[in-house]
Symmetry: C2
Subunit: 565 residues, 2 copies
C-alpha cells in the first residue's frame, strides 16, 4: 500500500494543497483557493507601501484546499485513500510576521483589533518599514557587522524586525497588546499541531535565519542590547523570542484531532517545521550540492546549498546564507532578481506596443524569436524593480539603450529578456567567485514552464544547459517531501531529504542547450552589460553615474509631493 | 501698385512656390507639388543608404507650382497680377549634388544614363559615402585641419566631395561622363536664368561653404593637391570648379524668355543665388544678430548669425561657420539635432503604445501633459539618429533610464520630448560658450506650429521665451525675401535683407514663457542629462562608457550580416 504526503503552499494570493505519492512523486491531487480578504488576498490601504494578509484566510484555505485535493486524489488514483497520508509539510511567503497573544492567537482574531490593519499579518512585500530598515542596518553596521554579513550587508524593509519596529512606532496599541510576533511559516504548523503557545511552537531556521538575523554562532536572534538600543520595548520582546530554530527535517508536532477532522486526515501524523516557498521550491526541484535552483516567475529566486561541515566565506550581495534553511545540515544560499517576468509584464501591460493583440506576450515572443542575438543593437538593465543580487539596492531603475528610429517592440522585448538573463549570469558568477560551483541548473516557475524563448536565451547567455523541473508546483512538492522526511522510513517515508528527493523529484525531458554562436555574441554583450551595471550600480565606480538614478528618484518623489499638495 | 516676389522651396518630398507681397509679407498664393519619381520623391534601391532624386522633378515642379501659386494669388488678392512679380528666390535641400555635362545638362537627361541611379541628384540624406567621408576627414585632419575647423571637425557622408568620390569609385562610368558636379541649389537658378554652362552659373556660398569646405581664406574649394591625393581624378575635377561663391543678395541672372513663358512670369526679372532651405528659413523667420532661429521638424536646425567684421572663434561641434551663408556679410552658424520629431514619430509609429488610438501623438501629448516635470523619474538621450551638435557623431543611439514596473507611455513620450529640449539647450550653451549670445529664439516648422506642449517644455527646459514665426512656410518666405533684395529698391523691393525682413517677417502673438518652478526642476535634470551625454558621448570621459554604443553597433552589423548570409 503506497504512502502519500500532503504539501501546503501559502502564496501571496492563494494557497495550494497537493497530495503526492512518496514512492515516485506522482501528484495525485491538487487544489487552489484564492484568499477571501483584500484585493486578491492582499489587504491594501491608501498607503501604497502597505500590504497585509488576514490569518483567517490561512485557516479557511487549509480546510478548503486539503479537502478538495483529497477528493481529487481519490478520484484520480483508485489506490489512494486519505488514511495513506503519512505526513504534512508547509511553506509560506516571508518574512510575513503577525502579532499574537500569549495563547498564540492572532490579535486580528480579537474583537478589539478586528478592524486594525496593523494587527494582520504583515505580508513580505509590505514596504511601510523603510526608515526602520535603514536604522537597523546603520546600527548593525556600527555594532554588529556580523549580523549583516550573512544577509548581504543590508537589512531589508521587508524583514521581521523592520516591521515590528515600525509597528511599535506607528501602531503602539497593537505592539503593546501583542505578547510576541510569529512568522506565518511558524504559525501554520503551530496551529495544525496545537502548539501555538509561545514556548511551544518551533521556529523555522529558514525564516529566522534569512529574515531575523538568527544564527546559532551568536546565540540565535540578535542580542538583547542591540534590539533595546533600537527601542527598549524591542529588548523586552527579545526575551519572548525562542533560543532555538529548526530545519524542515524536524516535526513541529503531530496533527491534532480537531484539525485532522477539519481536513479529513489521520490524526497524529507529523507536521514538518515550516519554511519559505522558494526554499522548499528548491527542494522540490531537486536541489543538492552543485545545483542552482532557479524559480522564474514575476521575480526570480536563485537557491544553492553548500556543505555545512566546511567553512563558507560571506558572499557579498547574497540575500542570505543560513545553515539548514534549505536542506538540513547544509548552508542554504539565497540570491534573486527583484523582477523577471514583471519586466516583461510591464512592457505588455503598461506599454502594450501596437495594442492588446500585437503587444501580447505571445506576439512579442514570436517577434523576439526572429531577432538574432546582437542584431537589435539594444542593451538593457533589468532593474525596473531595483536589484536584489548582487547590488541589494531597491533604488535602482531600468535602462534601455541602443534605440534607433527603427527599433521595434519585438527587439525591445528580446532585450528585456536578455537583460534578465544577464542578471541571472551575474548571480551565477557571484556564486562561483566565492567557490560555490554551479554544475547544473534546474528551473521552475511559470516562465520556465511556459516560455521556451526565455529558457533558450538563458542557456545562450549563460553558456549552460537549462533543465526544467518535472513538477509544475515545486514549492508544494518540496513541502510534501518535508512531510515524507518527518514521517520517516517506518511509515513509508524517508530517512533523509536526499533519498526523498531522488524518489519524488525529476526533470522534464527537454533540456535547453546553449548555441555556441549565440553564446559567443552574448559573451561580448555581457561585458557591455557589466560596464553599465557597474557604472550605475556601484557608488565607488568612476564617473559618478551612480548618483543619476538616485537623484531621479528623489526628484520624482519631490515632484509627486508637489502635485499632491 | 504693390510689388510681389516668388519663393521656390525644394524639399525632400515636394516643391513649394509662394507669392509674397513685399510691403508686408502677405502670402497671396501658395502651391505644393509632390515629386513624381521614386517613393515620395526619393529614388531608392536595395541599398538602404541610397537616396536620390530625379532632376526632371525639379523642372516639372517649378512649372506646376508657380502656375498654381499665381492662380491662387490672382483669386485671393484682387490687386495682384503676375506682372507685379519683381524677383525670384530659390532654396533647396543640400548637399544634393548632381553630375552635369559641359552644357550644364544633368547626365540623368542623357539617354545613356536614363536608368542609372548614380546619374541622378544625390539627395542630402544619401549615406552611401560613409567610407569616403572618413577618408576625407582623416586626410584633412592630417594635412588641412583648417578645412575641418569650420565644419565641426568631421566631414560628413552627406556632403559634396564624399558623394563625388564615392561615385568616382562605385560608378566610374558616371564620374567619367560628367564634366563637373553642381549643387541642386545652384542648378535651379542656373536653369531659370539660362546659365547652366560651367563657368556661367553662380555658386552659392551657403552650399559650397557648408558642404564643400569652400572658404575665401584659402582660395575657395580645397586645394587641388589635397583632392588629388584622395584620387587624381578629383584633382582634375577641382580645375572645373569655380573660384568664387556668392551670397543670396547676388542675382544668379535674369529669368529667361523660355522660363518666363513656362512659369507665367515677366521675363528678365532677377533670380537670386540659391541657398539651403534651413538658411533661407532662418531669413524668413527674421534672423538677425542675437536671434536663434530654430526649425523644428523631423530633425532640428539651429541657425545664428554673427557680425562679419569681427573675429569669430572656431566653435567645436557646429556643423558649419560660413560667412554670408545666411545673411550677406555676416557669419552664418549652423547647428542641429539629427532627430527631433522623428524620435516622437518612432515612439508613435514603431512602438504604438496601447494601439493606434491610445498611441497617437494627440493621445500621448494629452497623457504627457498630465505628468509634472520630474515626476516620471525618467531621463532620455535624444540620440536615436545620432547627434549632430555638439558631438557630430552618427554612431550614437538612444537611451532611456528610470523605468519602473509602472512607467507609462505618456511618461516616456514626455521624457522623449524633454530629451530633445535638453539637446536644444546644449546647442544654446555651446553658442554662448563661444561668445555668440542668444537673446531671443524664434521657432518654426511643423512642431512649433502644432505642438504647444513641446514648445512649453522647450521654454521650461531652456528658461527662455519661445516665439513662433508668423509664417508657416519660412523657407519659401526666405526665398521670396531674397527675391525682393535682388530686385532692389528701384522696382519696389529692398536694398538689403534687414529692411526686407523687417517688412516681410513677423511673429505669432503667443509666446511660450518659462515657468520658474518647472525650470528649477529642469535645471537639475539637465545636469543629469549632461552627465549621461558626456559619459556616452565623449571618448575622453572617464569610465569607458563611450565604447558601449559603438560596440553595440558593430555587433549589430555583424549579426545582421550573419543572418543575411
Amino acid at each position: 500500500m503506497a504512502s502519500y504526503t500532503l504539501g501546503l503552499d501559502y502564496g501571496t494570493n492563494s494557497v495550494r494543497a497537493i497530495v503526492v505519492r512518496v514512492t515516485d512523486g506522482f501528484e495525485a491531487g491538487t487544489a487552489v483557493w484564492n484568499y477571501a480578504h483584500g484585493d486578491k488576498g492582499v489587504v491594501l490601504s491608501e498607503d501604497p507601501n502597505l500590504a497585509r494578509q488576514h490569518p483567517a484566510d490561512y485557516l479557511e484555505g487549509a480546510e478548503r484546499t486539503v479537502q478538495a485535493a483529497l477528493a481529487e486524489a481519490t478520484a484520480n488514483d483508485t489506490a489512494f485513500r486519505p488514511e495513506q497520508i503519512i505526513g504534512i509539510g508547509v511553506d509560506t511567503t516571508g518574512s510575513t510576521p503577525l502579532p499574537i497573544d500569549a495563547d498564540g492567537t492572532p490579535l486580528a482574531f480579537h474583537k478589539d483589533f478586528e478592524n486594525n490593519l496593523d494587527a494582520l499579518a504583515w505580508l513580505w512585500k509590505d514596504h511601510t518599514s523603510i526608515a526602520e530598515a535603514e536604522e537597523i542596518t546603520a546600527l548593525a553596521a556600527q555594532e554588529h557587522p556580523e549580523y549583516l554579513a550573512k544577509c548581504g550587508g543590508v537589512y531589508s524593509s521587508e524583514w521581521f524586525f523592520s516591521k515590528i519596529l515600525h509597528c511599535l512606532r506607528a501602531a503602539p496599541e497593537v505592539f503593546d497588546a501583542a505578547y510576541t510576533w510569529i512568522e506565518c511559516a511558524d504559525w501554520i504548523p503551530a496551529v495544525l499541531t496545537g502548539n501555538t503557545r509561545p514556548g511551544a511552537y518551533k521556529v523555522s531556521v529558514c525564516a529566522a535565519g534569512h529574515k531575523a538575523m538568527f544564527n546559532a554562532d551568536w546565540g540565535g536572534y540578535p542580542a538583547r542590547d542591540f534590539l533595546a538600543k533600537l527601542d527598549p520595548k524591542l529588548g523586552t520582546l527579545r526575551d519572548r523570542l525562542h533560543d532555538k530554530a529548526y530545519a524542515v527535517d524536524s516535526a513541529a508536532g503531530a496533527l491534532t484531532t480537531e484539525w485532522a477532522g477539519k481536513l479529513g486526515l489521520p490524526e497524529g501524523i507529523p507536521v514538518a517545521v515550516g519554511a519559505f516557498d522558494a526554499h522548499l521550491g528548491a527542494v522540490g526541484s531537486g536541489i543538492g550540492e552543485g545545483c542552482l535552483s532557479k524559480v522564474l516567475g514575476t521575480s526570480g529566486c536563485d537557491m544553492m546549498v553548500a556543505p555545512g561541515d566546511r567553512d563558507l566565506p560571506d558572499i557579498p550581495g547574497l540575500c542570505g546564507i543560513v545553515k539548514g534553511s534549505i536542506l538540513p545540515g547544509m548552508y542554504g544560499l539565497e540570491a534573486g532578481q527583484s523582477a523577471v517576468g514583471d519586466i516583461y509584464n510591464w512592457f505588455v501591460d503598461y506599454i502594450q506596443p501596437g495594442g492588446p493583440e500585437a503587444g501580447s506576450h505571445e506576439a512579442l515572443t514570436e517577434a523576439a524569436s526572429a531577432v538574432a542575438p546582437g542584431a537589435s543593437g539594444l542593451l538593457a538593465l533589468d532593474w525596473n524593480n531595483g536589484n536584489r543580487t548582487i547590488l541589494i539596492d531597491q533604488r535602482l531603475t531600468g535602462l534601455i539603450l541602443g534605440q534607433t528610429l527603427y527599433t521595434t517592440p519585438g527587439e525591445i522585448y528580446r532585450a528585456l529578456i536578455e537583460s534578465t538573463a544577464f542578471g541571472a549570469l551575474t548571480i551565477i558568477n557571484r556564486f562561483e567567485e566565492y567557490g560555490v560551483t554551479v554544475e547544473r541548473i534546474v528551473n521552475c516557475g511559470g516562465i520556465a514552464e511556459k516560455n521556451p524563448l526565455v529558457m533558450q536565451i538563458y542557456a545562450d547567455v549563460t553558456g549552460r544547459e537549462m533543465a526544467v523541473s518535472r513538477s509544475g508546483q515545486t514549492c508544494a512538492l518540496g513541502a510534501a517531501i518535508a512531510g515524507a522526511v518527518v514521517a520517516g522510513e517506518s511509515t513509508g517515508g524517508y530517512a533523509d531529504f536526499s533519498s526523498a528527493q531522488q524518489a519524488m523529484t525529476g526533470l522534464k525531458d527537454h533540456v535547453y542547450k546553449p548555441n555556441p554562436e549565440a553564446h559567443a555574441v552574448y559573451r561580448e554583450l555581457y561585458t557591455l552589460y557589466r560596464s553599465l551595471h557597474d557604472a550605475f550600480g556601484l557608488p565607488e565606480w568612476q564617473g559618478n553615474l551612480y548618483s543619476i538614478m538616485k537623484r531621479l528618484l528623489d526628484i520624482r518623489q519631490a515632484a509627486r509631493k508637489e502635485v499632491a499638495r
